[in-house]
Amino acid sequence: MFSLSPSPIDPANVMERLNHPAAGAYASFEGWVRNHNEGRPVMRLEYEAYAPVAVKEGELILDEARRKFAIVGAICIHRVGALEIGDIAVWVGVTAAHRGAAFDACRYIIDEVKARVPIWKKEHYASGNSGWVNCEAPPPD
């Protein structure tokens, strides 16, 4: 299940949905709002999503993970709106019988979500400037 959350993500609460007696391994990932990005101090940021397509693409990624890896369950939640330093921006939780599949699927999901899901991040810097990450400068390489 992929969802967008306008309110803080509570992994301890959400992960209960992943409990399953056949699940022996649980791998999770959280993206936290850092106080810097590429050397610039960040004060806060905003995430904006194209909601219907973000959810559709997120669900597609979870389906791909279920086909590629021997997992039991997978959930991903992405925050939208205004976030502060330390907030959870994205959370991925995966269960499997064995740890290899849980790790591989968790990493696959976060990598694909970052690459494909229409969500954008605007950073507000200590300088007072702000910018849409990946959109302002020429591509990184």
Binding site: I110, K114, P118, I119, W132, N134, C135
Partner: protein, 80 residues
Amino acid sequence: MKRLHVLYFAILREQRGLNEEHVQSAAATPAALYAELVSRHRFSLPQDRVRVVVNESFADWDSAISDGDSIVFIPPVAGG
């Protein structure tokens, strides 16, 4: 002429100053429509850094677009 529903997000939304609009255009493809909008609104992103969604599905730049279609240009994403 087609009537197209265009949604804007992130840097394109700010550069356009609108969340969405209806556009009258003769553009046959998303590529033609984007070129038209770039020249009209001075969008900073070249087409090769943008993807396009037609009617809530990712589409090819040279697919055909039809009257009433919903079109969204997707700037480089940065989730996570």
